[in-house]
């Protein structure tokens, strides 16, 4: 059964259409405060919608002002950001809880819960309290608890955010495997582009409650449509109108590209593609810039420029420059990626 939802909430100014096919993992990616968690809570039934609808197959879960199915009657599984395991129960009881709540006898519930703990590799910790687990283990128990009831819709709220970097890498790979095996619909929200790219079949980017871009992770990463996404995937983005290989940028500059296009377009390029110099270079795509900030990374220096662009410089290139003086930037037309803006 597929999910078809239009989530409208005055709070967070949310207006989010969302469809998920069985077996598909849709990642809602957005900055903090974009309304991601609100959307997830609405899907779970923890917040009633103010407008729109939520349907799973033929079942209407929420359609204001009439229909509302309370959370305990929706076949959902939810993994919360801080897991919210029941601290007074053993790990096994946590996983068995959903089955017991749905009226499955204790013995059956426990043996099924144990099978799920085996699936996530924690059968040996079944008798322990959640407080005895590491962050990564607690995350896996939360996942097993959500999956144990065999929900139609799996909801994950920043499932990796509470983990340290090393654990995160391993847990992310495991989570991806479990999500691949899960036959129902999955909605995962995150603000982390790496999680989004690694776990999602499709991305829905929301900013201030509105969808700004959707598509396959690879497509979104290569063709960012907004400054937020461009920044997330580490690209510079400028907009303009193309006429063949001539682009008139929104600020009036004229650039050359190697890809012919027409109409409103985005131009994306890597920070490494920008050259900085004290004099205007011969050739196309040069403009005067002001430095707004400098950040030292491992082997490169990121120089923030006006118009929210950034350039990555090697130490030698940096040594030749006086960043306080007047500067010119230029980009090789071959380094520009041109695509239609949406």
């Amino acid at each position: 059964m597929s999910l078809d939802a239009l989530l409208q909430m005055d709070r967070a100014c949310l207006d989010l259409p969302l469809t998920v096919e069985p077996g598909e993992v849709v990642v809602v990616l957005g900055p903090n405060g974009a309304g991601k968690t609100t959307a997830l809570r609405a899907l779970a039934g923890l917040l009633p919608l103010q407008g729109g609808h939520i349907r799973l197959g033929n079942h209407v879960w929420d359609a204001p002002p009439k229909e509302f199915v309370p959370p305990q009657q929706r076949p959902v599984g939810m993994v919360f950001q801080d897991y919210l395991l029941f601290q007074h129960m053993s790990v096994l009881e946590n996983v068995a809880f959903g089955l017991r709540a749905r009226g499955i006898p204790r013995h059956t519930a426990r043996s099924r819960a144990l099978t799920w703990l085996e699936t996530v590799g924690l059968a040996d910790r079944a008798r322990e309290r959640p407080s005895a687990l590491s962050g990564g283990q607690a995350q896996r128990v939360a996942l097993a608890r959500a999956l144990a009831t065999e929900p139609e819709l799996l909801l994950l709220d920043e499932p990796l955010a509470a983990l340290d970097a090393a654990t995160r890498l391993r847990v992310r790979a495991e989570l991806a495997r479990h999500l691949r095996d899960f036959p129902g619909c999955t909605v995962l929200v995150t603000h982390d582009p790496v999680d989004a790219m690694a776990l999602g079949d499709r991305l829905v980017v929301i900013e201030d409650g509105q969808v700004t871009q959707t598509g396959a992770p690879r497509d979104v990463a290569q063709h960012p449509g907004t400054d937020y996404i461009a920044h997330l995937v580490g690209l510079n983005l400028v907009r303009g109108k193309a006429n063949g290989t001539i682009v008139t940028l929104d600020n009036g500059d004229t650039w050359m590209t190697t890809t012919a296009a027409s109409g409103a377009i985005n131009v994306a390029f890597a920070p490494t593609a920008i050259r900085l110099s004290h004099t205007r270079t011969q050739g196309p795509n040069a403009w005067q810039v002001t430095v707004t900030g400098v950040e030292q990374h491992a082997h490169t220096t990121r120089v923030h420029l006006d118009r929210s662009l950034s350039a990555d410089l090697s130490p030698t290139a940096l040594a030749d420059l006086d960043l306080d003086g007047p500067l010119w930037a230029s980009v090789d037309p071959a380094d520009l990626r041109v695509y239609k803006s949406r």
């Binding site: 779970a44 923890l46 939810m78 029941f86 959903g98 709540a101 959500a146 909801l155």
Partner: protein, 265 residues
């Protein structure tokens, strides 16, 4: 600089002297009580008829009153903490009234409502032939009336401090609100419930004003320990001391059992 203590000057006498007097005022009477206690005959006195009877009755009534308070007070606390009721602040204020009300006034109020002529008492009498005033059951009612706010306030505080999202997690797992309350909420606020219960029991055990007003003073039936202490002061001061020491011991035990909560820091 290392090792040198920063002194902010001596403590001002104008504060220290009243503080010492205050401390002595609180502690000395208790010390005096312990000094006058006939320790040698304590065991025999404890099991003499009058004292033993009062002790037994007190323990029974305080425990029954506590059961009543838990059965009614925990749901009341839950409704106050979780139910989105209109006028919740007013209800909370009403619940707290018996906490500050002089117990005698509570006893009078109970008598007016539950007495044979009172609106509720009349019904109880005509329907079930039950009359509460001046009975052991009346003692339980008076004690429960005075002690319940302690339990409600304590449990409600624990409920408000508990993360409500843990209940949301239970809901997404298919648990009804009742199941969630039983299996998730209640166990997670158990320390608060236990503290409230102990406090409630201690308050019920020491209840005097409402009890003597509503239930009167009939040895073996409504004469609880505090009433017995008061009576014995005239006829048998030694018995009064023994009973007082028992009540003091109970109070100290309650305080010790709650020390992490109330005496910490």
């Amino acid at each position: 600089m290392n090792g040198r203590r920063v002194s902010r000057g001596r403590l001002p006498a104008v504060l220290v002297l009243p503080a010492l007097v205050g401390l002595a005022f609180l502690v000395l009477p208790l010390v005096g009580l312990l000094l006058r206690t006939p320790w040698a005959e304590l065991p025999t006195r404890l099991f003499s008829t009058g004292v033993g009877e009062a002790l037994q009755l007190s323990l029974l009534c305080a425990s029954l009153a506590t059961v009543v308070c838990v059965v009614l007070g925990v749901p009341l606390a839950w409704v106050l903490a979780r139910g989105e009721l209109p006028g919740r602040r007013l209800i909370r204020a009403l619940v707290t009234v018996p906490l500050v009300l002089p117990p005698v006034v509570g006893g009078v109020a109970l008598l007016l409502v539950l007495g044979r002529r009172g609106p509720v008492g009349e019904l109880l009498d005509s329907w079930f032939g039950v009359s509460l005033p001046f009975t052991t059951a009346g003692v339980v009612v008076a004690e429960a009336f005075v002690a319940m706010p302690f339990l409600v306030i304590s449990v409600e505080g624990a409920l408000r401090a508990a993360d409500p999202r843990i209940e949301e997690a239970a809901a997404t797992l298919g648990a009804s609100r009742w199941l969630t309350f039983r299996r998730v909420t209640l166990p997670s606020v158990m320390p608060g419930v236990v503290a409230g219960t102990v406090l409630c029991w201690a308050r019920a055990l020491g209840e005097f004003g409402a009890t003597i007003t509503f239930a009167g003073n009939f040895p073996g039936e409504t004469t609880t320990m505090p009433l017995a202490v008061y009576l014995a002061l005239e006829s048998d001061p030694q018995a009064a001391i023994v009973l007082s020491v028992v009540l003091l011991a109970v109070s100290v035990a309650v305080l010790a059992s709650l020390r992490d909560r109330w005496v910490g820091g």
